[in-house]
Each structure stands twice: as structure tokens, then as C-alpha cells.
Amino acid sequence: MSRESNSLTALALQKFKRNFWGVFSFLFIILIGLISVFAYVIAPDNSVSANQMHLSIHSKNPGFKVDMLTVPSIVSTNQNAFDKWFFGVKNLDEEIPISYHNIQNDTLFYKEYVSGGLEAEEKHIVFSDFETKPYVTQKHFVFGTDKYGRDMLSRILVGARISFFIGFVAVFISLVVGILLGSLAGYYGGKVDAVIMWLINVTWSIPTLLLVIAITLALGKGFWQVFIAVGLTMWVEVARVVRGQVMSAKNMQYITAAKALGYKDFRIIFKHILPNIMAPVIVISAANFAAAILIESGLSFLGIGAQPPMASWGAMIKDHYNYIILGKPYLALIPGLCIMSLVMAFMLIGNALRDALEVKT
């Protein structure tokens, strides 16, 4: 019905649409989201974690081109297409960067690529036993290669996944825990509030890093642990905001009206209070999304986040930060810029939402 368009949510949406940076950031985030979902489809190097190493061409400049000889593996893997699309190809083929090649009958003569003006000795392979197409292709490394000779662009694309997912998982965990505890504390007050506030204060006083280390010790190293740890520290902020909002909302007359009409507490909290306090929660979630990405990159930088060979922007900076003074700053700068632009987009979206929903923070 046309009347529906007058709800407060619809009005806020109209306002949001008029904010250029908000819409721009939203589209940007959607783009990054699509990239992270289809990372392996887009990435030039679609091996698992974009982990195809070529040590001889490590840390090359962006735009580096080289001929690549692919030697297919004899072992065949039975991966289905879906698995390949979403989790990368379990590639066992060998890739050798070459500077020269020549085919005579069923033998391929080639020289391995060596940087620094040196020349490698000629090698040859007999290829009669594998039915393959062209073995030699020219490879183009748009963002250059990292210190293991992996394709930077592919690593960045695949790395977007971690940043994105940590944001989602952390925000999801923080919302579930935070809204539940916050609304209970705010609505019932008294002893319930005292206990939950105590829990909030204790959790808040534990440094995120320490909590992650503790959780890592308990559950083992890995990025799932980081997800949980970040989510478990972040619910505190959500809970505090929700608690404050519920406390002021429960004094609104429409809540008194709801009580007088004989509604149950559950119904009042979930149907009448929560929809009215979602605005600040949405705004804080956008900020939390950004914070989660930053925390994850920080943790990866310290080596307690995603473990190699998994690609993560923070870990990429960690791998290459000492190249900054060695004349190859882009190795650390590119993932750095990626983190910055994604966090920035979330911040801008948060601002736009705040204006649209008229939250005063």
C-alpha cells in the first residue's frame, strides 16, 4: 500500500538516500562484499588462500609481467565446481617463471627467470605424457608480488574476506549478546541491572588483546577464535547503549500504555521498545564493524590473528612492513589503504545513518 511509505523507517531511508557519502559508502561496501564472496572467481591466482608461490619473482613492482610455465600435477584432485568457486582450487600444479622457452618436438627447453641481470642455465621437460594446452602463458601481476612471490592482487581480494567476515561475525555476536543483556538490565533494573552492569564493567576492563590471547590459549590459534574474541569484547558497548536507551524508552508513555493494556514483558521489550531504540544500535554497529576490522588487522599484525597461509590484510602488512624502508613501501601500503578505505566507508555510513535516524551521539 502506498501509505506504508510514511513509516519512520521509510522516512529515514529517504533521508539516507539523499546523503551522497552515505550512498557512496554503501555501494562501496556492497562492492567489497561481492568481491569477498567471489574472491576466487575474480582473483588471477585462484589457489586456496592465493598461495601460489614463485620465490624467484618475489617482491616485484606493481604491473610486473613474466612468462609462466605451468607444469600440471600428476595427482588429480576431485574438487567440485562449487568448492573451487568459494574456497579456491587445491592447486598442485607447479608454476615456474621463465625468461626464455623453446619447443622442439615433445621437449620444452626453458630458462628460469632470475632477477638482477643473471641468467639461469637451460632446463628441459618432456611433455608427451600429459595432455595440456599452452604451458607457457604471460602472467601480469597488477599489484606486484609479495615476499614469497605470490600475486598481491589475489591476496588482497582473498584477504577482503577475513576483514569482512570478522566485521559480520563480531557485530552479530555483539548484537545478540549486547541487546539481550542490555535490554534485560535496562528493563528490569534493580538486581538484574546490578549483576549485568558488573559483568559489563569486568569485561570492559579486560584489554581486548589479553582476552584474545586467553581465548587463543583455551581454544587454540586461528581466526575463528579471533572472531569470537572480538565479538565478546564488543558486546559491552552495545549493551551499554541498549541499556541506556531502554531505560529512557521504558519511561515513555506508550510503554506505560502497553503495560496498562496488559501486554507481557517479552512483548513490550521486543515489539515496543527494541524497534524504537534500533537507531543508535544501528549507528554503533557501523562503528563496531569498522573497529572489528581494525582490531583484526591489529591482531593479525601481531601474529595472533589469521594464521599463514591464510590471506589477511593485517598479516600482509606484518609480512612486509620492513620493506617500507627498503624502497618497496607499496607491499605494506596497498593492504593498509584497503583497510583504511573499508573502515572509512563504514564510518561514513555510520555518520549518514546517524543523520538519517537523527541519533544524537
Binding site: 501509505r3 510514511n6 508513555q253 506508550y254 502497553a258 496488559g262 512483548r267
Partner: protein, 563 residues
């Protein structure tokens, strides 16, 4: 009265811009203010009475509003287009203003004395010591008890009426030529209102300043003003001296405004609304004394529906870890009976415990001691399940219709929800049909079903609130200041609706208000409360005609009677 006006507005138009659309709210008004007179401006909310006075002070919100046309001259000086600095000099010094809310117009972190002193130091050349003496003399001029105590008191330490006096002291500190009083007594109790009005009047006589008195209450304005100006939708519909306006109003709107206020002398069957007056269909039927007596007798022959016995509600404030808890009895030993089909009026000033009492009856805030019997059953110690069942029978209509509706739920759904909870109606379709009937019943249409609360006007929202309340088919309805937030003309419509519904559905009302004239019009039985206790109880007309206690007398005297 001299012929030279001290302030004159010529053809002033003011527009507000929202979303790049210009919206004219004041359409070319002109009036003059002469020295040594009190000009009353009357109008309902949205009539532009406050905006036009803010324009004089140059206090209109900068970016969204502008004066599109006209001239405002103050002592031959054009005020429109004056620099901020020049305006600042005029503000406070030549033209001063008192606002509606004394609670929020005083800075809570400064003592009252300091706030008045600040103005004196800003606009005059007095020394600190002289300013203090001047402040104290101003405080005694506005008849504040113990000026020395008020001087060092913070705003939260003095009462609302005293705060308004401090505000007046601030306003007259620099001996302004014009004082603009924008609804200065609306937030105050009637008895305090009377004192403030008298104070303003005597101050005006002493200082010979000109006063613009803005109010929505025509009879109040008639008590203070020399000349009256009636505004309606951004136009001045009528102006003239007060006797001519009251005795022989020319414009229909003025006539309607005078007629819609419940009269204290006669009891109309239906209050005339603006529409009635405009269409000349005023129903002049009066409930005669005999009719009323007969009705009363039949009402009180039945068993009481609700019986309140020795009810007490005590609030405790914790003052420290070791000191004893201090109790404050908001409701103290209150007993009364409500009979089926009657309207029990409950009047009292703010803080007298009338809302606490209604919350106790609704079981929203349980009483400390005493009993409440509904249909012979004590309802003070019910299990949550029984309590929810009872909610269906005892309902409330709130004061602020906007605040009592959830802004994110369309009104149709909001009315339907209590039916779902209490299993009224069999299916969604059935309930929707019932909701549409209810909407129709309270004077709204089917197309309002999917509208949100913010799309309605104040009076319509109150109708939605009423529809939601009667959706449960309750027996007893508590109207907690249900018409206080509404304009007089809308108030008349809502009161008529309440009376109609009562006849059709046989509701019993407990009608709470601070406005004695409304309560008297509505009620069979009247209950006057003061400081948690019942001052007076009995037949509404009897109490009004021969009040037993001093407090009731004072309350009745304080009602602005008009001319």
C-alpha cells in the same frame, strides 16, 4: 493611552522553509502596541501567536525561517534587518520576554540571584554590590518570600511559581518598555496562576510598561488584558477592547472559541465545537437540575463498581548509607466509591497525588497499604495472570496522545494489538473489521488504518488513543488529564466524544484534571485532592456551589471566569 504606538507591526509575513519548500505561517498581520497597556493575544496552537512575538525579538530560528514581508517598528526604529548586536541591546533592555517553562528557562547550575545579577551587569553600569542590592529589591518587588534565601538558592530548590517570579524579575530588571509574556502561566497550577497574573498586573501599573500577554486561554486573557487580539491560522481575525470581544464577538472563530469552553453556570448536553458554530448548528440543549438529580439518584442506588479504602502510597528516598529512609506519602488515607455508569471527577494541583492514585488503581504502581475492591474482589494482591485479565476491564486514556502511541506502529495495528493479546475477535480479518468500526466510532476513517501517529493532529491522535482504549471493551476508564494537552475547540470535540461513548457503551469514568471547569462539566461526583488527601468529596454541582473547605474555595476562586 497615547496615540503614538510604542511598537507597531505592519503587514508582517513569516515563512518557514523545510526541504526547500517555503511555507508561509504568518500572513500579513498588523497590530499596534501603545504605551502603558496590556495587549492580550489569543490563539490555539499553530495560530502563530508565539512566532509573531519571537519575530519582534529577532529570535526566529535563523536558517529555516525568514520574515518575507512587512515592517516592525519599535519607537520609530525599524527592527527587521537590524544587526545582531543592535538587537542584543534592545533585547532584555527595551523588550523583555517571559517564557512558558520556568523550569527550563533558568540555568540549573547558577543561583537565582546570580542569574538576575548577570543581566543587570550586562545592560547597566552598576557595580557588583549595587547589582546585588538591585536584585534583592527586584525579588521583593515580584513578591518572592525571603528574597535573601532565593538569592542564594539554585533553581531546583524553589517551586515552579517562584521560578516564574524569578523569571519575571529577570525580565523587568532593566525596566523594559515592553514585556512579552508567552503563556507565562500555562505550566503552573491555577492558584499560582492567579497570583502571577495579579503580580503582572500590579507590576504593569507601577512601571507603566506595555505588556503583550500571549495565551490560549481566552478567559485568562480577559482577566488581565485591556485589548485583545485573536489569531487563527496565521491571521488576526479580530481585535478590539476586551469587553467588545467578549460581549459581542464578530468573527465566527472568536464566537466558537468563547462557546467551546465548558461553562461553569449551565451544563450543555453537548459542547458547541468550532464546526457547530461555523455551521450555525449549536445544540443549546441544557441538562436541567431536575434531570440531573434524577440521573444521580438512579446511579447511586446500585452497588459500587470500584471501592477504594484507606489507600496509601509512600515513596522512600534514600538520603545516605546510615541515615533512616525518609518516607513521603503521595497518597494518604484515601477512600471513595465509584458507581457503575458515573463519572467521578478528580481535581487537584500538580503533586497532589492524583496520578499516583490512578496508577495505583491501574496496578501500574502498587499501593503501599489499603485496599482497592473491583466488583467485590480485592485487586491489590493479584497474581500476574489475574492482573492481566483485570487490565481488560480497567483502562486508561493518557494526557499526551502522541507520547502514548508507539511511533513505529501504524494506528490500525496499535488498536488491533490489545485485541490479539486479550483474545477479542476470532481472526485477523474479524479484528480488522472491528478496528475499522472503532475508527469510525471515534470519528476517524477507514483510510487512517495504515497511518502512523505522526501523521495525525493532536485531536485525532487522542481519538486514536480513545479507540485503542475502548477496543478492549473495558468497564472502567481512567482519563488522566486526557484533554489537557488539546486546544479548547478540540477539547470540546473530545469531551463530546467521551460523553457519547459513555452513553453507548455504559462506561464508568474516573476523570482526572487540573481544570475544574472541565471536571465540573463532565462529572457526577467530584473529588478534590490536596497533598495526598481528599479535601472534598460529593456531588459536583454541590461542591462548586458551596465548597466546604478553604482549599476548594481557593481553587474555585482561582479559575479565570472571563467576562
Amino acid at each position: 493611552m497615547t496615540l503614538n504606538p510604542i511598537l507597531s507591526l505592519e503587514n508582517v509575513s513569516i515563512s518557514f522553509t523545510s526541504q526547500k519548500q517555503e511555507n508561509e505561517v504568518i500572513h500579513g498581520i498588523s497590530y499596534q502596541l501603545f504605551s502603558n497597556e496590556i495587549l492580550g493575544i489569543v490563539g490555539e496552537s499553530g495560530s502563530g501567536k508565539s512566532i509573531s512575538s519571537l519575530a519582534i525579538m529577532g529570535l526566529l530560528p535563523k536558517r529555516v525561517s525568514k520574515i518575507t514581508n512587512g515592517r516592525i517598528t519599535f519607537l520609530d526604529k525599524e527592527l527587521i534587518g537590524l544587526s545582531d548586536k543592535a538587537l542584543q541591546h534592545i533585547r532584555g533592555h527595551d523588550i523583555a520576554m517571559i517564557f512558558q517553562e520556568p523550569m527550563s528557562s533558568l540555568n540549573p547550575t547558577m543561583t537565582c540571584g546570580k542569574q538576575v545579577e548577570e543581566i543587570l551587569l550586562q545592560h547597566t553600569n552598576l557595580t557588583q554590590q549595587e547589582a546585588k542590592e538591585e536584585t534583592l529589591s527586584l525579588f521583593s518587588k515580584v513578591k518572592l518570600p525571603k528574597p535573601n534565601r532565593v538569592y542564594t538558592a539554585y533553581p531546583h530548590e524553589i517551586s515552579g511559581g517562584q521560578k516564574q517570579r524569578v523569571m519575571i524579575a529577570m525580565a523587568i530588571a532593566c525596566k523594559p518598555k515592553i514585556l512579552i509574556a508567552d503563556e507565562p502561566t500555562t505550566a503552573l497550577d491555577v492558584t499560582v496562576q492567579k497570583d502571577i497574573i495579579q503580580l503582572l498586573k500590579s507590576l504593569q501599573e507601577d512601571t507603566k510598561m506595555s505588556v503583550i500577554f500571549i495565551s490560549h486561554d481566552l478567559s485568562l486573557v480577559s482577566e488581565i488584558a485591556d485589548r485583545v487580539l485573536v489569531m487563527y491560522k496565521g491571521n488576526i481575525v479580530e481585535q478590539g477592547d476586551k469587553t467588545s470581544i467578549f460581549k459581542s464577538p464578530k468573527h465566527k472563530y472568536t464566537k466558537a472559541l468563547i462557546a467551546s469552553k465548558p461553562s461553569l453556570r449551565v451544563r450543555f448536553k453537548r459542547l458547541p465545537t468550532i464546526k457547530d458554530v461555523l455551521n450555525n448548528t449549536v445544540n443549546k440543549a441544557i441538562i436541567s437540575k431536575e434531570e440531573r438529580e434524577k440521573k444521580q439518584a438512579s446511579l447511586y442506588s446500585k452497588q459500587p463498581l470500584l471501592e477504594v479504602f484507606n489507600l496509601e502510597k509512600t515513596y522512600f528516598s534514600k538520603s545516605g548509607w546510615f541515615s533512616k529512609k525518609e518516607g513521603f506519602k503521595a497518597v494518604n488515607n484515601v477512600s471513595f466509591k465509584v458507581y457503575e455508569g458515573e463519572t467521578l471527577g478528580l481535581v487537584g494541583e500538580s503533586g497532589c497525588g492524583k496520578s499516583t492514585l490512578s496508577n495505583a488503581i491501574l496496578l501500574l504502581d502498587k499501593a503501599t497499604s489499603g485496599s482497592i475492591t473491583y466488583n467485590g474482589q480485592d485487586i491489590t494482591n493479584l497474581t500476574p495472570k489475574e492482573e492481566r485479565k483485570l487490565r481488560k476491564d480497567i483502562q486508561i486514556i493518557f494526557q499526551d496522545p502522541f507520547a502514548s502511541l508507539n511511533p513505529r506502529i501504524p494506528v490500525g495495528k496499535a488498536i488491533m494489538e490489545p485485541m490479539e493479546v486479550h483474545n477479542i475477535g476470532t481472526s485477523y480479518k474479524d479484528r480488522k473489521q472491528r478496528v475499522i468500526e472503532l475508527l469510525d466510532r471515534v470519528g476517524l476513517t477507514k483510510s487512517d488504518f495504515n497511518k502512523y501517529p505522526h501523521e495525525f493532529s493532536g485531536g485525532q491522535r487522542q481519538r486514536v488513543g480513545i479507540a485503542r482504549t475502548i477496543a478492549l471493551q473495558p468497564k472502567l476508564i481512567i482519563c488522566d488529564e486526557s484533554v489537557s494537552a488539546l486546544d479548547i475547540s478540540v477539547q470540546a470535540q473530545v469531551l463530546n466524544l467521551l460523553n457519547e461513548l459513555k452513553e453507548n457503551y455504559n462506561f464508568t469514568y474516573i476523570f482526572i484534571s487540573h481544570d475544574l471547569s472541565v471536571v465540573k462539566y463532565m462529572s457526577n461526583q467530584l473529588l478534590v485532592m490536596n497533598q495526598g488527601k481528599i479535601e472534598d468529596i460529593g456531588d459536583a454541582d454541590a461542591i462548586y456551589n458551596s465548597p466546604k473547605t478553604d482549599y476548594t474555595k481557593k481553587l474555585i476562586d482561582a479559575i479565570p471566569k472571563g467576562l
